[in-house]
C-alpha cells in the first residue's frame, strides 16, 4: 500500500468539489471500491511539491456531518473512525464562497472532529459578482485554519492551496477541543471510559450516530443506547441546538470577515442567469414541454443514432465469426468459440452505444443543474405513486440498464421511497429488452402498415411497450406504497443549484464508468450463460443423443441430404438437456401459448434476458428446417409451424404474449444481485423476482387467451 499522506476532499454538493478533484489530480485518478460498500471510491495523486505527492480521496457531497441518506453515511464511517483504512491525515473542505455561511457549517463540524483541515474558498469570482468581498486572511485567523481562495474550474489558486496544505500537513494542527454546545462532562467521560480517548465532538458523534457506523458491534450499540438513557440525552434535540449554535458563531465570524457591497449601496438584487432560466424550466406548462422535448431527443439518440455503431459492432462480430469458422477446423471447440463465446461477447458489446448515449444525456443534465429542476416538477406526480421526485433519474436510467439505475437511488433520503424505486425500476424497458422487442414485433406486426397513414405501426408498438413498462412501474409502486410500512417520513428538501456549463471530462468519466460496469458486471454472466446454453443444447442425458441419428434414419428411410441432417439436429435438440428442461416446464407455459422450444429460451433468459435472441438462434439453427444456413433468426422463427393447427407458430397471440412476458418478467441476475447489494437483504430481490414474474405470467396469460 502507498504511504502517501492522505487528504479527504469534503464539501457541500455543488460547491465545486469534483472540479477541484479534477484540477488537482488531472489524469492521475483511479476508481475503486470502499470496503463493504458498493460505492465508487475516487482517488488520485496530487504533486504538491517537486517529488512530493499526496493522495486525494473524493468523498460524497454532504451538507452536514449527520447523514440523511445512504451515500452520506459513508462520510462519517470514514471521518469518525481513525482505524478506517481511508481515514485521512487531513481534510480540505471546499466551500462555495457565494454561500459561505451554510458551507462553513460542515467545515466547523469536520474541524471539531479533530481532523487537521484547510478551508478552500471556491467560486470567489461568483461571490464577487454578487457583491461579496471576503477578507480571507481575517477569516483564517477567526477560524484558526489555513484558508485558500480559488477558482477550481479554471484551476486558479492552486499554489495558495499547496502552501496551505503543506503547512497543515507539517503542523498536523487540529484546532478545537471544545464543543460548540457543551454537554455534561460526565457524559463525555462515560463515552471515553467505554470507547477510548477521542476529541469530545468525535465521542459525541459516536454516541449520536452509532447505529449508522459500521465500526461498532451490536453489544457496543447496546452500550450506547444505555448511555443515552442514563444521561437522558436526546440526539435529535442536541443536533438541532448544535446547528443553531454553530450558525450563531459562524454568523459572527462571517459578519466580521465579509462585506456585502449590495447591502451597503442598497442596490436591488441582481437578476442572475439562473433566475431567468428557472422562469422557463420551472414554468407550469413550459417546464414540462421542455422536459418532454429533452426526453424526445434522448430517446431519439438511444434508439436511432445508436443503431449505427450497433450495426457496426454486429457486423464486426459476425465477420469475425465467419472468418474464424473459415480458418479453424470444424469441431465442437470451434463451435463453442464462435457460436458460444464470441456470439456471447458480441451480445454484450452491442448494448454499449445505447448505454453510452443514455449516460451522456443523464450526466449532461446533472452537470448543468437541470436534473434537479426535473425532480422539482415531477415530485408531485411521482409522490402520488409512492415515489419521489428523485426517482425520476433511476427510472430514466432504467431505460438503458437497471444496474446503474438502481445504484443511482442512493441519493433518495427516504428509505421507503428508495426501496419502492429499486423494486419497480426493472419494469422500465431496458436496452436488453430492445432486441427481443425488435425481433418479435417484426414477426407479428406488419412492416408496411401505418396508422392514419402517418405512424409506422412497428414503431408505435415499440413505443407502447416502453409506455407500458413505465405505467406498470407506477402501478406497482402505488401497490407497494400501500403495503410497505414507512419507518421515517419521506421528504424532499433539496438545493436547486445555479446552472453551470458541463465539465466534459466529468461527463466522459461518468459514461466510461457506466459502460465499464455493464460490460464487466453484466457481461460476465451473459457470456457464461451463452456457453452453458451451447453445452446444454449440444449434449443430452444417457445415450439417447448418440442413438438419435440411427433412429431417424430407420424411421425415415427416404430422407437424404440436408432434410435428413436437419431432422437429426431437430431430434437431437429435443433429446438434449435443454430439450428436457423445455419439455419439463412446457405444461406450465402452455396456457401462455409457448412450446418447449420457447421454454428453453425462457429458462436461459431467467439469468439474463438478452440471451433470448441468442437462444432462439441457437435452437433454430440446430433444429430448424430451413435450408438456407444464412437465414436470419426472424425468418427461421417465421417458418416455425404450429403442429396442432398447421399455421405459423408465431401468430399475433403468441407474439404479443411473449412481448408482454418479456416486458414485465424479472430476467436479470445482475439486477437481482444489485438489489441485494443495495438493500443488504435477500428479502427484496426475492420480492422483486416474485412479483415481476407473477405479473409477467398473468399478463401474458391474459393476452394469449384474449387474442387466440
Amino acid at each position: 500500500m502507498s504511504k502517501l499522506p492522505k487528504i479527504a476532499l469534503i464539501g457541500n454538493p455543488n460547491a465545486g468539489k469534483s472540479s477541484l478533484f479534477n484540477s488537482l489530480t488531472g489524469m492521475r485518478q483511479k476508481t475503486g471500491n470502499f470496503p463493504g460498500v458498493t460505492m465508487d471510491k475516487l482517488t488520485g495523486t496530487w504533486e504538491i511539491e517537486a517529488h512530493k505527492e499526496v493522495e486525494i480521496l473524493d468523498l460524497p457531497g454532504i451538507y452536514s456531518i449527520y447523514p440523511k441518506s445512504i451515500d452520506e453515511e459513508l462520510v462519517i464511517n470514514i471521518l469518525g473512525n481513525p482505524a478506517h483504512e481511508d481515514y485521512p491525515d487531513m481534510a480540505i473542505v471546499v466551500a462555495d464562497a457565494s454561500n459561505l455561511k451554510r458551507n462553513l457549517l460542515l467545515f466547523s463540524q469536520v474541524r471539531d472532529l479533530g481532523i487537521p483541515t484547510v478551508l478552500a474558498l471556491n467560486m470567489i469570482d461568483v461571490a464577487e459578482n454578487e457583491g461579496y468581498v471576503i477578507n480571507s486572511i481575517k477569516l483564517a485567523r477567526e477560524l484558526n485554519v489555513e484558508v485558500a481562495e480559488m477558482n477550481a474550474k479554471k484551476g486558479i489558486g492552486m499554489n495558495g492551496l499547496k502552501l496551505a496544505v503543506n503547512k497543515t500537513l507539517a503542523n498536523r494542527f487540529s484546532s478545537n477541543d471544545a464543543l460548540p454546545l457543551p454537554v455534561e462532562d460526565a457524559l463525555i467521560d462515560d463515552i471515553q471510559a467505554a470507547f477510548g480517548e477521542a476529541e469530545p465532538y468525535r465521542s459525541l458523534l459516536w454516541l449520536m450516530e452509532h447505529d449508522r457506523m459500521k465500526m461498532f458491534s451490536p453489544s457496543q450499540r447496546e452500550q450506547f443506547e444505555a448511555l443515552l438513557e442514563k444521561h437522558a440525552f436526546d440526539p435529535k434535540i442536541y443536533k438541532s441546538k448544535e446547528t443553531v449554535k454553530r450558525y450563531e458563531l459562524l454568523t459572527e465570524v462571517v459578519d466580521r470577515c465579509v462585506i456585502n457591497l449590495n447591502r451597503q449601496w442598497d442596490a436591488a438584487p441582481v437578476k442572475t442567469l439562473t433566475d431567468r432560466l428557472d422562469k422557463l424550466f420551472l414554468h407550469p406548462v413550459g417546464g414540462y414541454l421542455f422536459f418532454l422535448a429533452i426526453l424526445f431527443v434522448m430517446f431519439q439518440a438511444v434508439f436511432t443514432w445508436a443503431t449505427y455503431p450497433m450495426d457496426a459492432i454486429d457486423g464486426g462480430v459476425a465477420y469475425l465469426n465467419d472468418w474464424l469458422k473459415g480458418i479453424l477446423p470444424a469441431s465442437a471447440l470451434t463451435g463453442l468459440l464462435t457460436d458460444g463465446l464470441i456470439a456471447g461477447i458480441g451480445g454484450v458489446l452491442i448494448f454499449v452505444p445505447q448505454i453510452a448515449f443514455l449516460f451522456l444525456f443523464i450526466s449532461l443534465l446533472e452537470e448543468t443543474g437541470y436534473m434537479s429542476r426535473v425532480m422539482f416538477i415531477m415530485d408531485k406526480l411521482m409522490r402520488r405513486f409512492g415515489l419521489n421526485g428523485k426517482s425520476v433519474v433511476p427510472l430514466i436510467s432504467g431505460v438503458a440498464c437497471a444496474v446503474p439505475a438502481i445504484m443511482s437511488t442512493r441519493s433518495i433520503g427516504s428509505r421507503k421511497d428508495r426501496l419502492i424505486t429499486i423494486l419497480v425500476t426493472p419494469l422500465m424497458s431496458c436496452s436488453a429488452r430492445l432486441p427481443i422487442y425488435t425481433v418479435l414485433i417484426a414477426l407479428v406486426v406488419p412492416e408496411k402498415s401505418t396508422l392514419f397513414g402517418m405512424f409506422n405501426l412497428q414503431g408505435l408498438a415499440l413505443f407502447i411497450l416502453y409506455l407500458l413498462g413505465f405505467f406498470m412501474a407506477l402501478v406497482s409502486a402505488y401497490v407497494m406504497k400501500l403495503i410497505l410500512k414507512a419507518k421515517e417520513r419521506s421528504y424532499f428538501i433539496m438545493e436547486l443549484p445555479t446552472y453551470k456549463g458541463p465539465r466534459f471530462k466529468h461527463v466522459a468519466l461518468t459514461i466510461w464508468n457506466s459502460v465499464n460496469a455493464f460490460v464487466f458486471e453484466a457481461g460476465k454472466i451473459i457470456v457464461a450463460i451463452s456457453i452453458v446454453l451451447w453445452v446444454l443444447a449440444s449434449y443430452g442425458p444417457g445415450e439417447s443423443m448418440g442413438k438419435v441419428a440411427e433412429q431417424v434414419k430407420q424411421a425415415n428411410p427416404n430422407l437424404t441430404g440436408i432434410p435428413l441432417s436437419n431432422k437429426i439436429a431437430s431430434e437431437k435438440l429435443e433429446n438434449s438437456y435443454a430439450g428436457h428442461f423445455g419439455k419439463f416446464i412446457e405444461p406450465a407455459i402452455r396456457p401462455l401459448g409457448y412450446d418447449w422450444k420457447i421454454g428453453i429460451a425462457l429458462i436461459t433468459s431467467f439469468a439474463a434476458r438478452e440471451v433470448f435472441v441468442g437462444t432462439m438462434s441457437t435452437i433454430y439453427s440446430l433444429g430448424g428446417e430451413v435450408e438456407d444456413e444464412n437465414a436470419t433468426i426472424k425468418n427461421r422463427m417465421r417458418a416455425e409451424i404450429n403442429p396442432a393447427t398447421g399455421k405459423p407458430l408465431y401468430d399475433m397471440a403468441l407474439g404479443f404474449s411473449l412481448l408482454i412476458f418479456y416486458a414485465f418478467a424479472m430476467q436479470c441476475m445482475s439486477t437481482l444481485a444489485t438489489t441485494y447489494r443495495e438493500t443488504k437483504s435477500w428479502k427484496y430481490p426475492l420480492i422483486q423476482f416474485s412479483y415481476m414474474t407473477a405479473l409477467a405470467y398473468l399478463s401474458a396469460f391474459a393476452v394469449y387467451q384474449l387474442l387466440s
Binding site: 454561500n99 451554510r102 450558525y247 422539482f376 408531485k380 417520513r489 424532499f492 438545493e495
Partner: protein, 74 residues
C-alpha cells in the same frame, strides 16, 4: 401565525421557528435559520413543491414541509 406555505410567489418573510422537530435539523443545516429572510420564488403545478430563496441560494421543498416553517410575513 403564518407558515412559509402561505406565501404567494414573490412574497417574503422572516423565519420564526419550526413545528416539526425531525425536519428542523435538515432545514437548519440547509440554512433555514430563525431570523433569516425567506422568499417564495417558484411553485410547481398545483402549488407543490415550492422553491424559495434563503441564505442566498434556491432551496426546494414540499408544501407540507414548508408548512412546518413558521414565519413573520413582511
Amino acid at each position: 401565525m403564518v407558515s412559509l406555505a402561505d406565501l404567494a410567489i414573490g412574497e417574503k418573510g422572516d423565519i420564526v421557528g419550526f413545528t416539526d422537530e425531525k425536519l428542523s435539523l435538515k432545514l437548519l443545516e440547509m440554512g433555514c435559520l430563525p431570523g433569516s429572510e425567506i422568499m417564495m420564488t417558484h411553485q410547481a403545478p398545483f402549488g407543490d413543491p415550492i422553491a424559495i430563496k434563503v441564505s442566498g441560494y434556491t432551496l426546494s421543498m414540499r408544501k407540507e414541509e414548508a408548512a412546518t416553517i413558521l414565519i413573520n410575513k413582511k
